[in-house]
């Protein structure tokens, strides 16, 4: 029986998908451009059917995100890329860590806690301490799903997902409870509000101009992108990660130490998410609040997948996705359309990129039956 579904027989052609063995670099780039153009074409239809000028809509989205708003885009990208680096390694080994959101939160919480504990420490000591604390907390929080998966075969999607909710509730508890704001403004002490105090001033990372793009986050992203490349391509550890991902059964028979490898994997994946949480707290938000859980851990999943374990790929994917988010706000301001359109736009764009991925991996052939 030929490839393709039976009901497809009504067509005069059948579709055959041939995996591409070698993909030239220029073709990869062509495909990505094609995907973006495709999404623009679809959105043009959507906008036209709703009597919206598509040109101004696109301009509002992209010209701003990669023009005037580039610092905001980069700032958002740094946090997301940091999470995505860890996720991409986990995904490469088929560990479906949906829990970056929770790991990000415990990272921010721990960093905040350290800042709260040592408010008088010099910035040179406090900043590394808070960042390290964030990394350690995320890494530890990632260990439970790792151990449960290897030892008891508990599906990591459910454990990481549940740990997200638990981290969110922990954040709420701390913000409304022991870490609740107490600050004196105009001679009156304010407390009870849905926020904590600022982290110590010396722990707030310096940023480029008025933006929220911090030098430290750029440095961390650069370091970990290179580290990822080195780990994945130049060390036996990276090789083992890939083997697990490519053929888990074979890896098991080859006597690989699954538990140790998975724990290291989640140490990196959870740790980087935790570090991102600490960085976001120290560079941008400076305070914890219930809304600190804003879905970055989920957005980073998309980036990790788009970029694969290729450092350049992750960076570009991160900037692209951050651009869509930042551009989305400008899109709202310029067109006056409700935020739902941004979601539709982003959804269409993502599916187009997925379509591009498909074209990159398969050659489509039409043949007569």
């Amino acid at each position: 029986m030929p490839d393709g579904t039976r009901f497809a027989r009504i067509l005069p052609y059948r579709v055959r998908l041939e995996p591409r063995v070698e993909v030239p670099r220029t073709f990869e780039i062509q495909v990505r451009i094609l995907a973006i153009l495709l999404s623009l074409a679809i959105m043009t239809i959507v906008f036209l059917s709703l009597h919206i000028n598509p040109i101004s809509a696109f301009k509002a989205m992209f010209l701003y995100a990669f023009g005037k708003g580039i610092l905001s885009t980069l700032s958002r990208a740094m946090t997301l890329v940091l999470i995505a680096i860890g996720l991409s390694m986990a995904f490469r080994s088929l560990f479906w860590n949906i829990g970056a959101e929770g790991q990000y939160l415990v990272g921010a919480i721990t960093a905040f806690g350290i800042g709260r504990l040592f408010p008088n420490l010099s910035g040179y000591a406090l900043i590394p301490l808070m960042l390290l604390g964030g990394f350690a907390a995320g890494a530890l929080y990632g260990q439970l799903p790792a151990i449960l998966k290897v030892k008891l075969k508990v599906n990591e999607v459910i454990t990481t997902l549940m740990l997200n909710y638990i981290a969110i509730r922990l954040l709420y508890y701390l913000v409304y409870g022991p870490w609740n704001v107490k600050e004196v403004v105009g001679g009156v002490e304010y407390t009870g509000y849905a926020v904590t105090n600022n982290i110590p001033y010396q722990a707030q990372l310096s940023t480029v101009g008025n933006s929220t793009l911090s030098y430290a986050m750029m440095g961390l992203v650069a370091v970990f992108l290179i580290a990822e490349y080195l780990i994945m391509e130049r060390t036996p550890l990276g090789y083992d990660f890939k083997v697990i991902g490519d053929n888990p059964e074979a890896a098991r028979y080859a006597g690989m130490r699954f538990l140790r490898l998975t724990m290291i994997l989640m140490l990196l994946s959870g740790g980087l998410a935790g570090l991102a949480g600490a960085g976001e707290l120290m560079a941008n938000q400076h305070r914890l609040r219930p809304g600190f859980a804003s879905g970055f851990g989920f957005t980073a999943i998309i980036i990790a997948w788009l970029g694969g374990t290729n450092p350049i790929g992750i960076l570009l994917a991160g900037i692209f996705i951050a651009g869509i988010i930042i551009g989305g706000y400008n899109f709202q301001i310029s067109t006056g359309l409700p935020v739902g359109f941004v979601g539709i736009f982003q959804g269409v764009l993502l599916f187009s990129v997925l379509f591009g991925e498909f074209l990159r991996r398969y050659k489509v052939k039409f043949e007569r039956w």
């Binding site: 579904t5 508990v154 638990i166 509730r169 998309i302 959804g347 379509f355 991996r361």
Partner: protein
């Protein structure tokens, strides 16, 4: 425990549990066929807005439920096409579906904000029956709650006791072997994904038409994610899904009974998730020998002639 409290827990277990159950049942079928669809939240949101819009415009809540379910099926086709025909990464496709579905729901819902349905669907209204312990809180439930109950039995039967169930499971466990037996893997996977969308759409429409029959944006409020967890929690078994959903509903509801007794609200709020974790671990301990896990080919695209 007095009768009111007992009745409340049972009542709320079914009320909060039903939308979760409907979405979980659909996801179980999709995942049994090997398709992981993380887009439940988006499909539910789309089903909710279409369902509400139809029920609001026509005044017919049943039509709203039907078209809400169909809307879920329609949008799930995108995921089916991308993950089955185009063989792309199912996690990303599912996440994209969430973003898309929530976006559409927000845009489409704008005209209905603050509107309520003049007709909704209620269960048997009999204040005297409602007072009976346990039974009373079940009797007053709406028809869709009973539909969910019945469906979990029917879907369990189909999945484990019929030829169709064997086909579905074999496609999810070993598509190559299923293909060799002459089963059209692509078709089965398409149908299972669409069924998953249908159920998610119904769950969404249930929320906006029966659970809380007035329109505000974001009515799904994260339920789609809980359904994904419950799918795994129930070990891909429709009967387990029934009690897992009700259990989750009961635990979430009973935290409010324990408030004001010195335990922090957020520690109580963690309960449903901690319980879920603990039960999954216990279930895994018990099942380890029998190896009941995810369908072997879950989230793995099927390519003919490979593997």
């Amino acid at each position: 425990m007095n009768v009111q409290i007992l009745n409340f827990i049972i009542y709320q277990a079914m009320k909060s549990g039903t939308p979760l159950l409907l979405a979980t049942l659909g996801e179980i079928y999709a995942e049994r066929a090997g398709i992981l669809n993380l887009g439940i939240e988006g499909m539910m949101a789309f089903g909710a807005v279409v369902g509400f819009g139809v029920a609001y415009t026509t005044g017919n809540p049943w039509l709203g439920l039907l078209l809400g379910a169909l809307a879920g099926a329609l949008i799930s086709l995108i995921h089916a096409f991308f993950s089955i025909s185009l063989r792309v990464n199912q996690v990303v496709s599912g996440l994209a579906l969430v973003i898309l579905g929530l976006g559409i729901h927000s845009v489409m819902g704008k005209p209905y904000v603050g509107q309520k349905l003049s007709n909704t669907i209620t269960g048997i209204i009999s204040p005297s029956l409602a007072q009976i312990p346990v039974v009373g809180s079940i009797i007053v439930q709406d028809p869709i709650a009973f539909l969910g109950l019945a469906l979990s039995v029917v879907l369990w039967y189909v999945l484990f006791k019929t030829k169709y169930g064997i086909i579905l499971r074999s496609v999810g466990e070993n598509p190559a072997a299923a293909d060799a037996l002459g089963i059209n893997v692509y078709k089965v996977r398409y149908l299972a994904t669409i069924f998953g969308g249908l159920m998610a759409g119904l769950a969404g429409a249930y929320l906006s038409i029966i659970f809380r029959p007035s329109w505000t944006e974001g009515i799904t409020a994260g339920m789609g994610w809980i359904a994904i967890a419950l799918t795994i929690f129930s070990l891909w078994n429709p009967i387990h899904a029934l009690w897992a959903s009700y259990f989750f509903g009961a635990i979430s509801a009973s935290q409010y009974l324990l408030q004001g007794k010195g335990i922090p609200v957020d520690i109580l709020g963690m309960m449903p998730y901690i319980f879920t974790l603990v039960i999954v671990v216990i279930a895994s301990l018990a099942q380890l020998k029998k190896r009941i896990g995810a369908p072997e080919a879950l989230a793995v695209p099927y390519v003919r002639g490979q593997s």
